[in-house]
Every structure is written in C-alpha cells, then in structure tokens.
Amino acid sequence: MRIKRLLPLVFLLMQGCATPGLRGTGDLGVVVERATGKVQVVETTGRSVLGEVAGLGDLSHATVVFSRDERYAYVFGRDGGLTKVDVLSRRIVKRVVQSGNSIGGAISTDGKLVAAANYMPGGVKFFNSDTLEQVAEIPAIGKDGKGSKVVGLVDAPGDRFVFTLYDAGEIWLADMKDPTHPVVSKFTGIGKEPYDALITPNSRYYVAGLFGENGLALLDLWHPEKGVKRILGDYGKGEQRLPVYKMPHLEGWGFYDHYAFVPGVGHHEVVVIDTNTWTQAAAIPVAGQPVFVVGQPGSHRIWVNFAFPDNGAVQVIDAATRQVIKTLQPGLGVLFLEFTPRGENVWVSARDSGKLVVYDTADFKKLTELPSDKPSGIFFTPRAHKIGW
C-alpha cells in the first residue's frame, strides 16, 4: 500500500533524471576568473552562479563572444587560447591554442566565423565557429614592413571585420564574405599607438583611440573610400597628461542623443563628443581616469569605472545634465560592468575583493554579492546579437 502510494513520486524522480530541465540561455552569462583559468556560468534572473568551467589557460584580459544561438561562449585568452564553452552543460566543447599572445575576438554577422586578434605574432586568425578549425589568417605587417600587434578587433555588418595595428598605426577593414579570399582595405598613418577601438551602436563608425598622441581616428564604414579622419586632436592640448596606470577601453561608449561619452586618456574626465561635428562638447570631471564608460540600456545614465589607483569607485553620470549623480564603492579593483539586456541591473566585478556585486540601477541598491575568484570581464549572452560586441 505504502509503496503504491510512493510509486508516482518514484516515477516523477526517474523522469527528472532522464530529462534534465530544459532552459533557455538568454539570461545566462560567463564571468572570467582571470587568475585561475576558469569561467563562472551565471544567470541573471535569480542572480546566481550556476557553476564553473575550468582549464581555459591564462585569462588575463580575456574576452568573450557568443554564438548566435546564445549557447556557446568563445573565450579568448591572453595565452592565445580560444575555448568554446557550452554554457548549458558547462563543458569545454573545443579548445585550440591559436597564437602565443592574444587580445580579443569577434564573430561574423552570420555566426560562422570566429576571429581572434593577436599580439604575437601580430595578426587576425579566423576559425570555423563549429569546429574551431582555422580557415584564414591575415598577418598584420604594416606599411613599415614590420609585424604589428592587433587591437580593437570588431565585427561589422556584412561579414566584415575591422581592426587596428598598434605598432604601425593603421586600420584594416577585412571583408570575409568568402573566407578563403579575404579582401582587405588598409588605412595607414592613422596616428600613434592606437590602443583600442569600437564600433558605434548604429554600426556606422569605427573609432580608434590614440595613446601616443591626442585624439581619435574615425572611419566611416558607410563611406570607407573617404578614409580615416582625425578627431579631437586638440583634446588636452597644453595640459599635463597624468600617468596612465591602465589603458582605457572604448567598447560600449555611452550615447545620448547625438553625444558620445568617452574616457579622457590621462585625465580625470569623461569627454563628451558631438557626433554631428565630431568635436568636443564638454568634459565631465570624475573620480579618476575612466576605463569603461558605458551607457545603461533604456536610460540616459552613463556608468564609469576607473584605472588604478582609483579603481574602487564606480560613478554614474546623468547624460542629460552631464553631472555625476552617484558614486558607488562596490569593492577593490573594479574591472568591469555589465548590464542585464534591459538595463534594470548592473553586475560589477571587484577583482581584489573577490566578488561580483549586483545593483538595481533604479535606486542603486545592492541586490546581491556573489563570490568570484579575481573576476574580470562579465559577459551576458545577449551580446550575441549586438554588432561589434
């Protein structure tokens, strides 16, 4: 009698074992634990860590792109490792060590090609996103005949990729529609030491930041024949530039109307650029040298984190009034901010405090803290559908 009553339960349990709960991946993400070569798989609905995937090599400065079905994370490690991680089963599907020293990656419009930007030897390699087999390579030999480190690799519409040669000071636009025959347009003499680049949210402009001189290099992807234009060449002219303890990132600039908010290199400022004229509209004083200046989705708020030694703070700017409206202290060594796709929460990594901190962006209340081993980048799966991320 008793057993009979239990039978349905037993049956249910067995079913449970046979079919692990189906779930989507739209609320998942990966967090890079840079010192231990692991990524955490997190979910943003219940705000929790689902598990870890180990064995990804040196993940300092690691970056991630996602497959178009938001199931696979391609993790680019500093040691040249490219790892395809299944975020559902939390397993490594495939891993290749594709160069000696890598910096970033991108995925083609059709999702078929994964591209890795390399320092040593400098260039971009392209891989089949299913198998990670290499299908093409573009060595970064500048006009000077020397090999160059590659930075600021982004994907652009039409299976194109744009990247920048740090040592040579060039921007290259590669059409990869036919991966066996890359068509590369080269723009030389764009400026000294371009350190990073981004593509604007409308996918029209590719902008590279210059470290070795003032200003930014701008390429109109709708009119590449017009060449690269220097903008903001006067920024900070005649002022003493502060030593830079961490290179700023350009990815994820904040936008408000036609104004872009960007890190002021060597200054404790966020620079506001009028993108109609590509001239400086204002400079907003902030708590340190900005590293990331990112727009909160669905809002006119811009969030900023800072370089050493001011990397304990996060500031929020109201883009309309250009005022800092909030200063948060999430922990020590704040490296990264990632918004949930609709911007209601922001996840912050505090490397030296060993934690992730999640805030409600409406009232800046801390929602939760999650332990993480020296976390750096946080990447949520909806990036799969953002051009140039």
Partner: protein
C-alpha cells in the same frame, strides 16, 4: 596633500600612520650596509598581487608581455637591475609605461626587480 594621503590610504591596506612608518622605515632600512631591505611579508603579498594584476594589465598576468614587453627572466636577462628599478619608479618617456614612484619606495622597486629576475612569485 590631503587628497594625496587620502588616495594612498585608500590604496594601501594599512592605516595612514602605519603606512608612513612603514615607508619611512623602509627607506631607512634600505641604506643599511648598502643593501636594500626586503619589504615586510604583508607588504610583499600586496606587491606580488600588484605586479601580477596591475602591471599585468599591460605586461600580461603571466608577465610574458602584452601591449608592454615581457618581464620574464629570459627577457630581462643581461639588463641592469638598477635601471630596471628606475624604469619602474620613473616610467619611460615616449612609451605608455607610467612612473610607479607615488606607490612604491626605492627598496620596493629594487625588490620587485630582484624577484622578476628570479622568476616572479605567484599571487596565491
């Protein structure tokens, strides 16, 4: 000056007074017998983390190089220890290398160079 102290205090995991004593003693000890004294163990752990993580943002967490050059023993072989320490303290004009003097004593820079030349310890 207050701003400066505030910044340092935020950055160092020690109260300002203890930090000043440490810095002053560090400098005094540095000259004893012409040999630089090693930093105290707690400070060593802090410096190791700083080199791995903050220097690592350009030179790579494993220090094999990134935007900045490799800091592995084989890459530094034959380079003068004193000039390496000066590069750490004063930076290198014409390159992105910044001066770390606001955050490090001479003895600490010398200690970092010594460890780099031997193969830098892990943070954990």
């Amino acid at each position: 000056m207050t701003g400066h102290t505030y910044k340092l205090a935020r950055f160092f995991p020690l109260p300002p007074l203890a930090m000043m004593v440490l810095l002053v003693c560090g400098n005094v000890l540095a000259d004893v017998g012409g040999k630089m004294a090693a930093p105290l163990p707690q400070r060593q752990a802090y410096l190791i983390n700083m080199v791995r993580e903050d220097c690592g943002s350009c030179h790579g967490l494993t220090l094999k190089g990134g935007l900045g050059p490799s800091l592995l023993p084989q890459a530094l072989q034959g380079k003068d220890a004193n000039s390496l320490a000066q590069t750490i303290l004063n930076g290198r004009t014409g390159t992105p290398m910044p001066p770390w003097k606001p955050f490090l004593s001479e003895a600490e820079a010398a200690w970092i160079v010594e460890k780099l030349l031997q193969g830098f310890p892990d943070a954990n």
